[in-house]
């Protein structure tokens, strides 16, 4: 098996580390900060809402098609490079000419290229590390992405505070350059190994000529669907938690920017520390146990938030968010690679999970906000804890182990 035989070259591995770091850096600027920036550009609330909705819809709608697209493009490094260049364009559009047309275009472009970049990165990882090195490789990916997120939040928070909101997007655009540079050493490696992978995949794949049937088989894979449901529930419970908590902190503490920054950065530190361990544990003890561990941290955190809103405690409990984030961040591409890694629909399957996660995240924030408005913050946290517990239960009851065994790998 050419996929597993060759060990990952250290240079390619390091390049992928840097790439993950810079991409995470870049993505920090495109988060909720866009609303802040558009306010400073005298946008009305309605127009900002439209812009963010367009971004959400574009990201959701392009998950699955983008996955399918990445599947048919053999050179994943090129996909990644194009996605990063698209980020450059988006950031510059935001920074230079924030009129509605360009902002909407940038939102759509960003949604689409995020959807191609995620699968492309996972595919490059698979190519570099091989199937059995994937767990450890993804742990490293998550570590460097977390470092990038933390650094990006600190850097861009400072930039927005002390320079200007607009400068954040210039910084974002500038950070796409090192990301592209990090891809350079990956170029030859990925192409060479990708051909090997591709050849082996084509050789191993089910009889060609009926791609539709194989596609259907992958998408109706029970493991994939159950994991998709788990991921959706987890994200549903996880996404609004920080928003709710930090909103109530702003109400209590006068200007909690530092506290909220701590709530964002601390979990990233934990993710950076714990991700490789999560990857190793997934290899040693199986995917299920890592999933159970990470998912269990979520309802626990929700219950603690419901019980107390002491700012110090809140920041401390955010460490649990880091554990959940590390486990989920590593398990999501890993389980998909277990299930679909050798089919030709790895990226499509990733897109499907991404779609489920996106649905969960999009629906939950307004739902949790509604609960908090009508029944209070505590009830909202209880509800999120219940959904999180449901995700744990689903893993416990229905999720099968997907870790490939070396002798069964050739089946």
């Amino acid at each position: 098996m050419p996929i597993t035989a060759a060990p990952a070259s250290p240079a390619a591995g390091r390049a992928l580390d840097w790439f993950n770091l810079f991409v995470a850096n870049i993505q920090t600027g495109f988060g909720p900060f866009i609303a802040v920036y558009l306010i400073s550009q005298r946008w009305t609330q309605t127009a900002i809402g439209v812009a963010l909705s367009i971004g959400t819809i574009a990201a959701m709608a392009s998950q699955v098609p983008a996955g399918a697209l990445v599947d048919v493009i053999p050179n994943k490094t090129r996909v990644a490079a194009f996605s990063v260049v698209a980020f450059t364009v988006c950031a510059l559009m935001f920074a230079i000419y924030p009129i509605p047309l360009f902002v909407y275009l940038a939102e759509v472009l960003h949604g689409l290229s995020s959807c191609t970049l995620g699968p492309a990165t996972a595919a490059m990882s698979l190519v570099i590390a091989g199937r059995f090195g994937m767990a450890v490789r993804l742990g490293r990916n998550a570590r460097y992405a977390a470092i990038g997120n933390g650094l990006g939040a600190a850097l861009m928070g400072a930039c927005g505070q002390y320079v200007s909101e607009r400068a954040v997007f210039y910084l974002t655009a500038a950070l796409t350059l090192p990301a592209l540079a990090a891809l350079l050493p990956l170029r030859r490696v990925a192409i060479a190994r990708d051909e090997a992978l591709y050849a082996s995949v084509v050789a191993e794949a089910a009889p060609r000529g009926r791609p539709g049937a194989q596609l259907l088989r992958v998408l109706s894979d029970r493991r994939l669907l159950i994991f998709c449901a788990c991921a959706m529930l987890f994200t549903f419970a996880n996404a609004p938690m920080l928003m709710l908590m930090s909103g109530s902190m702003t109400a209590k503490v006068g200007n909690p920017s530092l506290l909220i920054a701590a709530c964002i950065v601390l979990p990233q530190i934990i993710v950076a520390l714990a991700s490789p361990a999560a990857g190793r544990m997934a290899e040693a003890r199986g995917r299920r146990s890592v999933l159970l561990l990470g998912f269990s941290a979520l309802p626990l955190r929700a219950l603690i938030f419901a019980a107390s809103s002491n700012p110090i405690l809140v920041v401390a409990v955010q460490a649990l968010d880091g554990i959940g984030g590390a486990c989920f961040g590593v398990m999501m591409p890993l389980i998909v690679s277990d299930v679909a890694g050798r089919s030709r629909h790895f990226n499509l399957s990733l897109g499907l999970i991404g779609f489920g996660v996106g649905i969960g995240g999009t629906l939950s924030t307004p739902a949790a906000g509604w609960l908090a408005d009508h029944f209070g913050l505590r009830v909202a946290f209880y509800a999120l804890a219940a959904v999180g517990a449901l995700a744990v239960l689903l893993v416990l009851v229905a999720m099968p182990e997907t870790r490939p065994t070396r002798d069964a790998a050739d089946q």
Binding site: I39, R42, A47, G49, P100, L242, S246, G247, I260, A261
Partner: protein
């Protein structure tokens, strides 16, 4: 569900205004304020209505005369008056589009060809047929419009808000008017980090102090942090607004200072 529908509606509306806004040159933006001001003025009292009517007549007779500008003070004083009557605005649809235009305000940062402006002016002369009373106003508006452009303080959206000691309190993100069109409440967003954990509160308009000479200076909100935190979060214009009032008997307070 309803909120979803509302959001969709809003989206459609904004897209519509977007297109409208792009078709109109930026110089038309200022027109919105004078138009709404003048219109209420005509309805406020029979006397003023007659005045604006005469304005209208003279305007229609000789729109190209520069001397028309001298009669304009009447109009501008109208504009300065608090307008209590909004009837005229309801019957001409075009008005609603301009009012929404702030969504596109950033547009007028960009350079615009002068030729377009002229073309717009031509377009602008068309609306009058619908309502004869409104017809004269556009010409008067064109003059006031020019003045307005030189005074950027009309843009309150996005303005920074400072506390009594110059501390950063956030930005004005929305301005609410009552049924009569009087500006009553500013929505201020503060707190948060990179957009996470922001909080919005509604503040009585009269609490905001504007710098008399520097239009770009931050607005000052002279209240303590405790007061800010007491004020409940603003949840959007669909729900009843609890706002920070100058005194406790907010509803019983005297008329807004004109």
């Amino acid at each position: 569900m309803t909120s979803l529908r509302h959001r969709l509606n809003v989206a459609m509306l904004t897209l519509w205004t977007l297109s409208a806004c792009h078709s109109l040159p930026p110089s038309q933006l200022p027109e919105t304020a004078p138009a709404s001001n003048a219109a209420p003025g005509s309805g406020a009292a029979p006397g003023s209505g007659a005045v604006s009517g005469s304005d209208a007549a003279s305007g229609s007779e000789a729109p190209s005369q520069p001397s028309q500008g001298t009669t304009q003070p009447g109009v501008s004083s109208n504009a300065a008056q608090p307008s209590t009557d909004e009837q005229p605005s309801t019957d001409d649809v075009p008005n609603t589009a301009p009012v929404r235009i702030p969504a596109c305000l950033p547009t007028d940062n960009g350079p615009k060809p002068a030729a377009k402006r002229k073309a717009k002016a031509v377009v602008h002369s068309q609306p009058p047929p619908t309502a004869p009373v409104v017809e004269p106003l556009p010409t008067a508006v064109a003059d006031t419009g020019v003045k307005r452009v030189t005074v950027p303080e009309t843009s309150v959206l996005g303005r920074k808000v400072q506390g009594p000691r110059g501390d950063d309190l956030g930005r004005v993100v929305d301005v609410l008017a009552d049924a009569q069109g009087r500006v009553r409440i500013a929505i201020i967003e503060f707190g948060g980090f990179l957009g996470v954990g922001n909080r919005r509160i509604a503040v009585d308009w009269s609490l905001l102090k504007f710098h008399p000479h520097d239009a770009d200076a931050p607005v000052v909100l002279d209240v303590s942090r405790d007061k800010l935190q007491e004020t409940p979060e603003y949840k959007g214009s669909g729900s009843p607004v609890a706002f920070m009032a100058p005194e406790i008997a907010a509803s019983a307070r005297p008329n807004t200072p004109h």
